[in-house]
Point group: C2
Chain length 155, copies 2
């Protein structure tokens, strides 16, 4: 951030110069697109996010999945119970904390992930159409920096 834009507010610079406004607009549209697609496939967005998070990182707990999926713990807890009943995940008790359980995708869970991933990728690609690769790399770098700046959880 430069010093000289300290006093430049939304009233003079306009909303297109205010990043949080743009991020809210963009991510809302992305979420709506996937919500519609997941509804067609009979899946919830929370289940979609849990599948993707567990594909990226095995053994996550309900607390971690709640944060990664940006949802409520009660919603994630219910979703995981259903996923276990449906044979998409298995859970094992944590060695370090007997109250915590680590989830892993089963083969059926991986198959479900492989069904939804192309839709997630497609929606992401639609966002970034025409964005130069070097700009995309900067965006990823800045977003990771922002997450470090503001997250309240260790993960």
């Amino acid at each position: 951030m430069t010093e000289d834009d300290t006093d430049k507010d939304i009233a003079t610079a306009g909303m297109s110069a205010f990043a949080p406004y743009l991020m809210n607009r963009v991510i809302h549209r992305y979420n709506q697109t996937l919500l519609a697609k997941m509804n067609e496939m009979g899946l919830s967005v929370t289940k979609m996010r849990a599948l993707a998070a567990l594909a990226a990182q095995d053994g996550l707990t309900v607390n971690e999945l709640t944060v990664y999926a940006v949802t409520e713990q009660s919603t994630m807890s219910r979703t995981l119970d259903q996923m276990a009943r449906d044979g998409l995940i298995v859970r094992r008790v944590s060695e370090s904390d007997s109250r915590a359980r680590h989830s892993s995708l089963t083969e059926a869970g991986w198959e479900a992930y492989r069904n939804i991933w192309p839709e997630m990728r497609k929606a992401e690609r639609a966002l970034f159409e025409g964005v130069p690769p070097q700009d995309y790399d900067v965006l990823l770098k800045v977003l990771n920096h922002m997450l470090e700046n503001i997250r309240v959880h260790k993960f």
Copy 2:
């Protein structure tokens, strides 16, 4: 986007390489911070967003404000009624469409905006702490490009 990352999915690249995941995490935290702050000030987030949007652009309609504030039309409609009752906005019938009304901030509305803007700016600055100015500029450019890519409204 480069060609060679077409097959790189979240399972191999990890979630920190998936921009929509990062955006959801970051914007959720920003929204939560402002929600808490607005609650302290006795304001709703919808009212905060309406004040900011009208400060940036005079004469917006309920449809435009609904999109800009990323909310439901019924919520925005109710919020504008309350803001009019509280003397924060005035509304005039559109010359081109007698069913539409254009909202403008009153002097009290501008004062309310000037009260909330520092909080919005502070929350935004917290996101971008330590981000180089040139990266911030790229982020804004890419976000505006993304909004062009996916918006379903003309505004």
